[in-house]
Symmetry: C2
Subunit: 116 residues, 2 copies
């Protein structure tokens, strides 16, 4: 089952290009806050805020190692998000089927009109 709170947190977390790039970077292996911040020319505080949002969505786990905070990918696999989007796409296509049936009906009515 898809839980609304999980979807809210997960979709919000990936609704930012910096956070999406952080996930891609962590896909290559763990990284410190400093390593994550560097390519964005971002402060550690700024990156820590993004990482917090990703942690709230279970997309990232971080831990203090000495004076460094090390981040890695978390347990969230975006399966609920994927399920919701698939559901929406089927809904969208059915809407098109409905419209198509409607236009076929209109065309049929036109055809009849032309024959008469």
């Amino acid at each position: 089952m898809v839980h609304h709170e999980v979807l809210d947190r997960v979709f919000s977390a990936v609704a930012d290009s910096t956070r999406r790039e952080v996930l891609v970077r962590l896909g290559r292996g763990p990284a410190s806050l400093g390593e994550l911040a560097e390519p964005f020319a971002m402060s550690l505080t700024g990156m820590a805020k993004h990482v917090r949002v990703l942690e709230d969505a279970d997309l990232v786990i971080s831990e203090k190692v000495g004076r460094t905070r090390v981040c890695r990918l978390g347990e969230e696999r975006l399966e609920d998000a994927m399920a919701w989007i698939s559901f929406y796409q089927r809904l969208w296509e059915r809407r098109l089927d409905g419209l198509e049936a409607y236009f076929t009906l209109l065309k049929g009515a036109d055809g009849k009109g032309a024959d008469a």
Copy 2:
């Protein structure tokens, strides 16, 4: 190609359960702002704000018909969003492959130790 701005708008738009339910409702056919607001006991102004966010993401189209604003599903099919999530899931699985290879290596090393 996946465009960052599109993904930002689309993921933000679906990061709210009211907006997701509005999309599902519109999958059944067009509805006025009033009809959309009613099940949430929400003001027209509140619902208009949600619809604006959905319109900015091309998920909804609305038009004035007399004194009513009628909404229907827009052209956005969430294909970029789906593509990004699929990409992330492959990334996440590869990370697991990497970890598995690592643990196999550790086990191998242990095995050798036990044999010796």
